[in-house]
């Protein structure tokens, strides 16, 4: 077991399909090795409900699509030393940003009225308001490491985390690309 102090990691998903987190879990048995070196202090994969004040590495999946995404991105930027943009949605908007070519009202109408046969209605309670333009993470806050891929492979995520744990700056272009 490693004796060096563990680094803290926080993750969350914004407007994405959670596939990047699934790819993270795809590291399989390497996860055991990873737990010896990192503490996951906040994530949809763990129980903690609040983001700690100081986190070493923050990982964001998904693009900025709603007020809630915007808040989370700002919170992660504020509390995380290194911010990682994980996956194509985070890095370039990807599929969520395909709605940018339509008016937001038309998109919402299409999803909740035009294509619905029973009780068509637009949800307003308990859901965050959508922003008119979907942006990549770095469109709203500064990002330190970009990991493209849809989703980036478990190997790519492993490489990036290992480099960060070792205190180095990873170059994800060597292991992944847009659409990978």
């Amino acid at each position: 077991m490693s004796t060096s102090p563990k680094i803290t990691v926080a993750t969350t998903w914004l407007d994405g399909c959670s596939g990047c987190h699934m790819s993270f879990l795809d590291m399989d048995e390497r996860l055991i090795e990873l737990v010896q070196q990192v503490d996951i202090v906040y994530s949809p994969l763990v129980d903690t409900k609040t983001l700690p004040d100081h986190v070493d590495v923050g990982i964001l999946e998904g693009s900025i699509s709603s007020e809630d995404d915007l808040e989370k991105a700002h919170a992660f930027r504020k509390h995380c030393k290194i911010l990682v943009s994980l996956g194509d949605c985070a890095v370039n908007g990807n599929v969520p940003a395909m709605r940018n070519h339509f008016k937001l009202a038309d998109v919402v109408d299409h999803a909740y009225r035009d294509t619905v046969t029973v009780q068509p209605q637009i949800p307003t309670r308990g859901v965050p308001a959508l922003l008119s333009v979907v942006k990549p993470i770095h469109g709203v806050v500064g990002v330190d490491v970009f990991v493209p891929g849809c989703p980036p492979s478990a190997d790519a995520i492993w490489y990036v985390l290992s480099e960060l744990i070792a205190g180095r700056t990873p170059d994800p272009s060597t292991v992944t690309r847009f659409g990978a």
């Binding site: 943009s85 940003a97 990549p136 469109g139 659409g179």
Partner: protein, 243 residues
Amino acid sequence: MPPPAKQPNVRVVTLTIDGRDLSARADETIIEVCRENQIPIPSLCYLEGLSVWGACRLCLVELAGQGRLLAACSTRVTEGMQIQTNTEKLQRYRRTIVELLFAERNHVCSVCVSNGHCELQHMAQKCGVDHVRVPYRQASYPVDSSHEMFRLDHDRCILCTRCVRVCDEIEGAHTWDVMGRGSDCRVITDMAQPWGESDTCTSCGKCVQVCPTGALVKQGTSVGEMVKDQHFLPILARRRLAQ
């Protein structure tokens, strides 16, 4: 215009590329000499067998004693040239060019038919483009699916004009052309009519094969299925010249 035929008796010049002493025929371009000597030069609009267009600027090189950068595809070699092909400055410029191509149209690789077989995508990875630093233009473009065999998606077009040149210079149909200016440029078929209604198109598919991206594809291909084959081009180009 097809590429000019090589002259039989041409002077030989000597030059250095990345510090290597090389000799070349005086009617060759820098990119030709580089390719012959396995010196990698990135390019998107240049394709052996087609005329030179010089639009993508990815093949920029540095020439000693010259302040401005030169496009390797459209610059002939001259005696004593000292060329650098991969300086930090060039890498920076190339990366920016690729980012601008991504920002200009709408590239969603994960749902693109050319995903994994795309020269632009490959170039992005090679140039270290892990994100695009400029805001996306977010302009909307149409898709033309009127041709019974092929499809044109302007969202994926980088205006390299390979389709225009191959159709004109190799197939001889001249179905394609370019309309508009700047980032509003668009490739068109005939007089901007739907491709399926074209009187000139022979449906040979050469444009589809030489298109570096997912802009021109075969109907019915889904994500990642569109694989292109360009081996035919230098062969046909040589036969054309021999005619």
